[in-house]
């Protein structure tokens, strides 16, 4: 699975960290241009593609797609 976070939209609410059953999202020390704490990916290979994070994200900043689909394009 391919996980993309649009960092300029992120507001650091940590919903994705809370909701992920595989604990892929992690708190980081990085900040985006607006000063919000952006999550980072940890062990993204274990993603099962349940899309809980994509649904819960208030800014629609997370996109999860199958890697094969991207290659086709």
């Amino acid at each position: 699975m391919d996980i993309k976070i649009k960092e300029e939209y992120c507001k650091g609410c940590e919903y994705c960290i809370e909701v992920c059953p595989q604990e892929i999202f992690q708190k980081s020390k990085r900040y985006n241009e607006k000063g919000y704490n952006v999550p980072e990916l940890n062990n993204s290979k274990s993603c099962t593609g349940c899309k809980k994070c994509e649904l819960i994200c208030p800014e629609m900043a997370i996109t999860i797609s199958k890697e094969e689909e991207n290659k086709k394009k």
Partner: protein, 294 residues
């Protein structure tokens, strides 16, 4: 299968306004996400879609959609939506309101539109406080709730908007929290498809004004842990809050919990249908009378 966010964002949202003005962790963004997905699943025509809103944080939502939007006066969103739907029934009208909008100043409009059964979808962002003005007590704030204007806890009984809508006779009522993503999307889809007034109440978090929990993520856990599914038929005769007289019974341990689920789903002729019928009938009768007098 869920569509990827960036594709939907590209199609349905105004990119120049993103990221939205909502606070970090605000549930209104999530409701935007759910509504976009519901519209996409139904393959609706964006040129025939109108979003109407009143005043409040939630009423900023129509600005973000690539569709028609009307930002109206406080509490009158449903009144404006009624006008839009009655004059042009081809349009699909979706109303976004907050609890201050619909339960306080606009409660009468809400009940009257349910009585008329206008074919609109009302999505209520119920954060149980007046979020935009700093967290004052609202008609849906639970009893014993500490807000800016009730620092020693709220002594008023609260409204349960979904049960109010059910009692008034709404055709479709659904109540979820914003943590129930899939159910909320399904409810919005069903509400849009339903003929007549569909009311979808989404209990949401206000991490800025309502300081019940220090972090936005605590709201998520609270919603998931403290919610119970609605049971239409239950034998224990005990009711919490206001639904004593509505024959809604809940067991003792469920008192004070968030009641979620699909509350009503029935069929009734909507206003437009009856109006069309009336128009034809009255014209026929008029000409008959004319002929007789001639």
């Amino acid at each position: 299968m869920l569509k990827p966010s960036d594709e939907l964002r590209e199609k349905y949202l105004r990119k120049d306004l993103l990221p939205s003005m909502f606070c970090p962790g605000c549930s209104i963004g999530q409701i935007m996400n759910y509504t976009v997905r519901a519209i996409d699943d139904l393959e609706m025509d964006q040129d025939k879609l109108v979003f109407v809103s009143g005043i409040g944080c939630s009423s900023r939502l129509p600005a973000y959609f690539e569709a028609y939007g009307v930002h109206t006066t406080h509490g009158r969103a449903i009144a404006f939506a009624t006008g839009i739907k009655v004059t042009n029934p081809d349009l699909q009208v979706i109303v976004f309101t907050g609890d201050g909008d619909i339960a306080a100043i606009g409660l009468n409009h809400f009940l009257q539109s349910i009585r008329r059964n206008i074919d609109i979808t009302v999505i209520c962002v119920n954060n149980e406080t007046y979020g935009m003005t700093g967290g004052q007590v609202s008609p849906t704030s639970p009893m014993g709730f500490k807000t800016k204007t009730t620092p020693y806890s709220n002594i008023e009984h609260s409204f349960n908007l979904s049960f109010l809508a059910k009692a008034a006779g709404a055709v479709y009522v659904s109540r979820w929290t914003t943590a129930h993503s899939v159910q909320a999307i399904k409810a919005i889809k069903k509400g849009i498809k339903k003929k007549g007034l569909a009311f979808i109440e989404l209990i949401s978090a206000c991490p800025t004004s309502d300081r019940r929990f220090p972090e936005p993520k605590d709201y998520l856990n609270y919603f998931l842990n403290e919610s119970i599914r609605y049971k239409p038929h239950c034998e224990d005769e005990l009711s919490s809050h206001v639904f004593k007289n509505l024959n809604e019974c809940f067991t003792a341990q469920d008192e004070g919990k968030l009641i979620v689920g699909e509350i009503t789903d029935l069929d009734k002729p909507d206003y437009h249908e009856l109006y069309k019928e009336l128009k034809e009938r009255s014209i026929n009768e008029f000409w008959k009378k004319r002929e007789n007098t001639d």
